[in-house]
């Protein structure tokens, strides 16, 4: 493997109540996805600090996805809608700044939908693979 073909790192931020459950369901159903995908769980997708996403991107994570509750059926009242709006704004910020907004994606899914989760992760992984690695900002600039 050459330097340019280093393994991808993809960060998945899962909400406790839908994303993490969906990942669990996928595990129980025996569905697999790339081992380069690292998952972390938070209480709620609407609670994601913008610095979490920015920091990940800055450190050179190749792709970030957020999985949260489906629209209008959030675990907390309105959490999914709020999260969608907030993260959409985040995407806009990345676009405005000239950063690769396509490396950031969201999914709003039922806790029982393991298949949906895995197919999303796989297609995201393929897209990121096509985009190639992202090197972040470490060591750039002065």
């Amino acid at each position: 493997m050459g330097v340019s073909e280093r393994r991808l790192t993809i960060l998945g931020i899962l909400c406790e109540h839908a994303g993490a459950q969906a990942a669990e369901t996928a595990g129980m159903e025996g569905l697999i996805y790339s081992p380069d995908v690292r998952l972390m769980r938070l209480l709620c997708a609407a609670d994601i600090d913008h610095l979490l996403i920015l920091n990940a991107l800055w450190e050179g994570v190749d792709g970030i996805f957020v999985v949260g509750c489906p629209t209008e059926r959030g675990y907390f009242r309105g959490c999914s809608e709020l999260a969608q709006r907030r993260l959409q704004a985040m995407k806009d910020v990345l676009e405005v700044a000239g950063l690769p907004a396509e490396r950031f994606r969201t999914l709003w899914i039922e806790a029982s939908d393991g298949k949906g989760f895995v197919s999303f992760v796989n297609s995201f992984y393929e897209d990121i693979k096509r985009l190639g690695p992202w090197n972040g900002f470490r060591g750039k600039g002065e």
């Binding site: 600090d49 913008h50 610095l51 920015l54 920091n55 800055w58 629209t71 209008e72 009242r77 309105g78 959490c79 809608e81 709020l82 969608q84 709006r85 907030r86 959409q88 704004a89 985040m90 806009d92 910020v93 990345l94 676009e95 405005v96 700044a97 000239g98 950063l99 690769p100 900002f137 750039k140 600039g141 002065e142």
Partner: protein, 306 residues
């Protein structure tokens, strides 16, 4: 703008004499040519220092949450919008605030005027009518020249009919020029700009509707210690994201920046994106409509790729 200054002084004095307010927050003449400085008038005699010119770039509503008692505030229309947002956010109570606002001709960049050979002595009178090309970027794109709420609104002594201030012939801003570039070029541009950043937090502290206070520049979760352009850019991006759906393009942050980083070229596109996505929402125009980022409703469907 001389006439307007007289009216505002008179009104501030009247409010003081009537005991309706404890303090008037306004602008006074700044320490050197062109500039204005925020000024607190605690008694009626102080009111003669109050002034308004085409160079009042500070947003005075940043002081509202800090000041106790009943306040009269001189505010540009964009500042009034931030006051409305502060009231929505329960930072300020409407009954404690008297808003003295005016139809705004837009704020001018003294640098451009100096290049045109305008003398600083004219600072009190010059306006965008004479030099539309000197308008700041955010005033170029501004269409809300009238305050959405004011305690003097609707009275006939209001000056500056809208027709007096035509929109500048060329409303393109740095934001538009950047939008035409490729993402890589844009990123490169911003890296160059943020190499100058000295982390003084003036942008964050001069914004009335940003409550973060710039702690991210210090904390280990935020910027790393080394002053790298990328790190500075990251923190400012988090600032921009926090203001999505709240920024009224008042330009306080950019004019506060000691090293002149064009922050509004980040805020203006965000403003437009929010406007497009959420049915033309513009923050601070009414008391009832809250920021779309605070609404727990499904995302409005927009046509992709349009």
């Amino acid at each position: 703008m001389n006439e307007l200054r007289m009216i505002l002084q008179r009104e501030a004095r009247r409010l003081m004499e009537a005991g309706q307010v404890d303090v008037v927050i306004g602008y006074a003449r700044g320490p050197y040519a062109w500039t204005t400085a925020p000024f607190f008038a605690f008694n009626k005699n102080d009111c003669i220092h109050l002034t308004v010119s085409s160079f009042c770039t500070q947003n005075l509503s940043v002081y509202l949450p800090k000041v106790e008692g009943r306040v009269a505030i001189i505010a540009k229309p964009c500042d009034v919008r931030t006051i409305i947002e502060l009231i929505q956010d329960n930072q300020v109570r409407r009954e404690n605030v008297k808003i003295l606002s005016f139809r705004c001709p837009g704020m001018l960049n003294p640098k451009v005027l100096e290049e045109k050979g305008v003398s600083p002595d004219q600072a009190g009178t010059v306006s965008s009518k004479d030099y539309p090309e000197a308008l700041y970027d955010w005033c170029r794109v501004c269409i809300h020249r009238e305050p959405p709420d004011a305690d003097l609104k609707g009275e006939p002594r209001f000056l500056f009919e809208k027709t007096d201030y035509p929109m500048p012939a060329d409303p393109t801003t740095l934001a538009d020029r950047l939008e035409k570039k490729t993402p890589a070029e844009r990123l490169n541009f911003w890296m160059g700009e943020f190499a100058r950043c000295i982390r003084c937090k003036a942008c964050m502290h001069s914004c009335p509707v940003y409550y973060g206070g710039g702690d991210q520049f210090d904390s280990i979760e935020g910027a790393t210690g080394e002053n790298q352009p990328a790190e500075n850019f990251k923190i400012v991006l988090s600032f921009v994201h926090s203001l999505a759906g709240k920024c009224t393009e008042c330009g306080a942050c950019e004019s506060a920046c000691p090293v002149r980083i064009p922050l509004l070229a980040l805020h203006i596109p965000m403003y437009r994106k929010m406007q497009q996505r959420y049915g033309g929402y513009e923050p601070g125009l009414s008391y009832d409509e809250v920021s779309p980022l605070l609404k727990a409703e499904p995302m409005p469907q927009i046509v992709e790729g349009g």
